[in-house]
């Protein structure tokens, strides 16, 4: 048993491939047998991944899901930003420039609109929950933009660490919701072409959410959504701690 564990830990990236492969296999099996293919296998695989992360979190008290378990530490590398970014860029191979140009304006508009929209509603929720100082409101609003914008804004404004933690949590909820809900609503929001994928990426912005959500709907759409989403956090980091904070501060 110790020997077995040792091999798995020493070859953690390979163990991770096997682990993910098993999850995907189980997900497709469930998709086929239980939902007769109605619920897409890759969407289920992502949900199974999240469930594993939850269970792992309960047992390890860690923050990095299953990668906190020694034998599955390779999942952290496989699902980390380096390989994720590499693979996202690869999806652009074969994507059409013409599609990008045709929907560029809508994509850019949705980017700025999306950041503003998320911030306003995030800030409103903060106010509804009784927060009344502009720093906290702005930081929580920033968290609903993405969980990167939250802490960047919070530390720039000098918000309490509790508030920053809250903003990260709000961003995580957003990201996980986008991952899981996108395949369910894709049809009704017309998410089936490059243009709507770009708008979707610009409105949601959470890289991991958009990447996973689109992957489960149609992998061909991934590059278009990822393209706009990649600028979203940057737009948020630029505007939220500056202009948006100024506006909140003026109103309050």
């Amino acid at each position: 048993m110790e020997l077995f564990k040792e091999v798995l830990i020493q070859n953690s990236l390979i163990t991770a491939f096997v682990f993910v492969g098993l999850i995907v296999y189980i997900a497709y099996l469930i998709s086929e047998k239980l939902t007769r293919g109605k619920f897409h296998g890759s969407a289920l695989a992502i949900i199974l991944g999240l469930i594993c992360a939850y269970i792992a979190g309960v047992f390890t008290n860690g923050e990095k899901g299953v990668s906190d378990i020694a034998i599955l530490s390779g999942v952290g590398l496989l699902g980390g930003s380096m390989l994720r970014d590499f693979a996202i860029v690869a999806t652009a191979y074969g994507a059409k420039f013409s599609d990008l140009k045709a929907s560029g304006a809508a994509g850019i508009f949705s980017l700025f609109f999306g950041v503003t929209l998320s911030f306003i509603f995030g800030a409103l929720v903060a106010i509804l929950f009784g927060y009344d100082d502009p720093r906290s409101i702005t930081t929580i609003g920033a968290g609903t933009v993405t969980f990167v914008v939250g802490p960047i804004t919070g530390s720039a404004l000098g918000a309490d660490s509790e508030i920053i933690a809250l903003s990260i949590a709000a961003g995580l909820v957003k990201s996980i919701l986008v991952m899981t809900v996108t395949p369910l609503v894709a049809k009704s929001i017309g998410l089936n072409n490059p243009k709507s994928a770009m708008v979707f990426g610009g409105l949601m912005g959470t890289n991991s959410g958009v990447a996973a959500g689109l992957a489960a709907v149609d992998p061909k759409l991934v590059p278009y959504g990822a393209m706009t989403a990649t600028f979203y956090t940057a737009v948020g980091c630029l505007f939220v701690p500056s202009i948006f904070f100024f506006l909140v501060d003026t109103i309050y």
Partner: protein, 117 residues
Amino acid sequence: MVIYGITILGICTLLGLLAGKLLGSLFGIDANVGGIGIAMFLLMYLSSSLNTQFTIGDISEKGISFWSLIYIPIVVAMAAKQNVIGALDGGLMAIVGGIIVVTISFIFVPIITNYKK
């Protein structure tokens, strides 16, 4: 050679991330500003000019398409390393905030798609 495809992909990714870092420091924020987007642009540009001017060959192409195909498993691994407990423990406000923002953003997807012809 399959490595050529991976090399092209790697060069695009690194150049993009570098440009994103530079943009970030230009704006004075410690984040990568659109690096992945720039890298994707580069690869798209290359792949469209590769077809017309010269070809990298089927096998080299496999070096890129492998990574494109392994993308979903990587996303599954990414899901498996999320701080799900942290999201749920953030309390009611984080959950309510997340739900409201996501719902409203979803509603605007078809509106903007159809409005901006």
